[in-house]
């Protein structure tokens, strides 16, 4: 493989991470919560796809995908309702712990259902097929991922900046109480934010697992962590930041592999995280905040 193909693979992984990273970043922007369960939701949506295809073989694939996305969004919504919304006035640490609890629960639940075994992701037509672009031969999903990530990012940024819902989202992220006083239904805004995050995670999971076919209950942990690093590197709270951060992480890891440092790739990502945190804690696109005395 040449450098170009590594680069394209890196952008692909980056694009898939980006879709997950947006979920982290949006939830953090609104609730100031690191949603540790988001990586697990990503894994759960992959598992759902496997079970839907296996249990309803007569379903056309596009319908199966649609069903899986709807279910993932619903689970994302449920997690928020049951695990986070009761803690609205609790200290931030409690909510973060609740998120850790949810991720523990999802992992154990999936492990129970699958018997802890790795399951084969179904073949997805079109995006699972190999094509050759710029002399690089790979599955279509590899070429498609960064494009889809960028398109969805543009749409999302447009929604946030130009619609009424986006305005209320920005308001809630700036000041919870004031936006409530201004008549914004914050619970609705939060639910929709989680739903969008879950939708993107589901999209990301199709693109990601169509390439890496085996899934078990731990498959969400690593992409989740990477996507999260991406969100922090890009500046947590910023949607374009999450995408840029994810593309950086994807490319860096892929290049590490290209230079024979495959064992090092995790270490490099985490080192990048710590360096960014120390040099510019708010990330590439983050806003600076000061504490009032």
């Amino acid at each position: 493989m040449n450098i170009l193909s590594y680069l394209i693979r890196g952008l692909a992984t980056g694009g898939q991470f980006a879709l997950v990273a947006i979920g982290y970043t949006m939830v953090y922007g609104i609730l100031k919560l690191i949603n540790f369960a988001h990586g697990e939701l990503f894994m759960v949506s992959g598992i759902l796809m496997i079970y839907i295809v296996a249990d309803f073989p007569m379903l056309p694939i596009w319908l199966a995908i649609f069903l899986m996305v709807v279910l993932t969004v619903f689970i994302g919504f449920l997690i928020e309702k049951f695990a986070y919304s009761p803690l609205r006035s609790a200290p931030r640490m409690s909510v973060m712990i609740s998120a850790i609890g949810v991720s523990y629960l999802l992992q154990n639940l999936v492990s129970y259902v699958t018997g802890g075994l790795s399951k084969q992701f179904p073949d997805i037509p079109v995006i699972g097929e190999s094509i050759r672009i710029f002399g690089v031969k790979d599955k279509l999903t590899v070429f498609l991922s960064p494009v889809i990530a960028l398109v969805l990012m543009v749409i999302l940024v447009w929604i946030i900046n130009h619609t009424k819902f986006g305005m209320s989202m920005r308001a809630v992220s700036k000041d919870f109480e004031t936006s409530q006083l201004m008549g914004i239904k914050i619970n609705r805004v939060i639910s929709i934010t989680f739903a969008i995050g879950a939708f993107l995670a589901a999209t990301g999971s199709i693109l990601y697992f169509a390439k890496n076919t085996g899934i078990n209950h731990l498959s969400g942990a690593n992409p989740g962590l990477k996507a999260f690093i991406a969100a922090v590197v890009g500046g947590i709270g910023s949607v374009p930041g999450a995408v840029v951060g994810a593309l950086i992480i994807g490319v860096v890891e892929s290049l590490a592999k290209a230079f024979g440092l495959a064992d090092f790739s995790d270490v490099i990502s985490f080192a990048l995280l710590i360096i960014i945190l120390v040099v510019k804690p708010t990330g590439i696109f983050g806003e600076k905040t000061t504490e009032k005395v």
């Binding site: 100031k32 690191i34 540790f36 049951f82 695990a83 009761p86 803690l87 609790a90 931030r92 640490m93 409690s94 973060m96 712990i97 609740s98 850790i100 609890g101 949810v102 991720s103 523990y104 629960l105 992992q107 154990n108 639940l109 492990s111 129970y112 259902v113 018997g115 802890g116 942990a221 962590l225 999260f228 690093i229 922090v232 064992d263 090092f264 995790d266 270490v267 985490f270 080192a271 995280l273 710590i274 945190l277 120390v278 804690p281 504490e291 005395v293």
Partner: protein, 362 residues
């Protein structure tokens, strides 16, 4: 002052009773009893939880680097206590171990703590300036970096690369575990009750006010971080002893989360809470709930629904969620167990009744 003495005496009695129970279990329980493996694990994770509590509960620093420091402790201890003639066998993939001596248990334990503390000092310099979540992420990242580095082939002659280390000194006696854990926790309690402990709590309660009262934030945060990591390192060494084998794959962030859950269940800011929670957590997940993993049939031959491999952990995580959501204070909140206060409360209960009775009589 007199009340204080009575309190101390009562608590000493409680500790004595605990020790006696452990001795009895060690002497009398059949060697196949679950008590042994569970209690070893409880001692280990009680110390891990208490040391995390010192940082998260008493100093207000949300750190998620525990797995990394435990890994450092476990590896240090394991590498140093392999008998010399076993070394070439353990490190067979790398020719031989670079280290050619064996240390006794206690110095190896101390060194395990010191190595973890030293790394805490290094990583603390840049990351302790970060606020809440960012600190949590940075320390989490640090733990993952350590885990990644230890597996590297290049470090093979020291760390045995991705292969597990075994054959090192691993006592079986639960009293050894109780002693290591007990002494360590005692030291942490003494620190918390000292003037430094008050400074830590001040930082937790209000950083800005603490600084205005002359408490050097950087210095005290670093101190707390180093102490906590020291004991984390020792807990890691204990974990190595428990498992009789050390491998970097067990020190994932999931383990840190588990310790955090123990701290939360016990009550953030309560030492006795962490200990009780460690017991309940590991006894139920490894023992009491074990039956949930077995496919069981009723007398009539019908299979009891849901029971099966993995169901135990589902039930267990649901229980944890219930505690996290509805009993946010955990078992103890920020209080500590005090036998004397307990007696006093029961006494008061009766006293109140008799006082009420007296009023009626008049």
């Amino acid at each position: 002052m007199w009340n204080q003495n009575k309190r101390t005496i009562c608590n000493l009695l409680l500790v004595a009773a605990l020790i006696l129970t452990l001795v009895l279990i060690e002497l009398l329980a059949p060697s196949t009893s679950m008590w042994f493996s569970v209690l070893r694990k409880v001692c280990t994770f009680a110390l891990a939880a208490v040391s995390m509590n010192l940082l998260n509960g008493f100093t207000g620093l949300f750190s998620l680097g525990q797995a990394g420091f435990m890994l450092l402790g476990a590896y240090t201890y394991a590498i140093l206590t392999i008998p010399v003639d076993m070394r070439s066998n353990v490190f067979r993939n790398y020719g031989d171990s670079l280290i050619r001596f064996q240390m006794p248990l206690v110095p190896a334990l101390l060194l395990a703590g010191l190595i973890a503390a030293f790394f805490a000092f290094l990583i603390g310099l840049p990351v302790l300036r970060l606020k809440s979540d960012y600190l949590a992420i940075a320390t989490l990242g640090f733990a993952e970096i350590v885990r990644g580095l230890v597996q590297l082939q290049n470090f093979g002659p020291v760390t045995n690369g991705p292969d597990p280390i075994n054959m090192f000194t691993a006592p079986k006696n639960i009293l050894v575990y109780a002693a290591i854990s007990g002494i360590s926790i005692l030291i942490i309690v003494l620190i918390i009750n000292s003037t430094y402990g008050r400074a830590f709590k001040a930082i937790r309660d209000d950083e800005i006010a603490a600084e205005a009262m002359g408490i050097n934030l950087a210095h005290h945060k670093r101190l707390s971080f180093i102490i906590s990591s020291f004991f984390c390192g020792i807990a890691g060494a204990m974990m190595a002893m428990c498992n009789t084998s050390v491998s970097s794959v067990s020190f994932t962030s999931a383990m840190t989360y588990q310790i955090l859950l123990v701290v939360v269940i016990g009550g953030i800011g309560s030492i006795s809470g962490s200990i009780i929670a460690a017991f309940i957590f590991y006894a139920s997940s490894e023992w009491w709930l074990k039956f949930l993993d077995l496919e069981t049939y009723t007398d009539a031959g019908a299979k009891i629904p849901l029971l099966g491999p993995g169901f135990r952990m589902v039930v267990f995580s649901i229980l944890i969620m219930i505690i996290v959501l509805f009993f946010r204070q955990g078992i103890m909140g920020t209080r500590e167990i005090s036998v004397y206060d307990g007696i006093l409360r029961i006494k008061n209960l009766f006293m109140k009744k008799s006082v009420k009775g007296g009023v009626k009589d008049e």
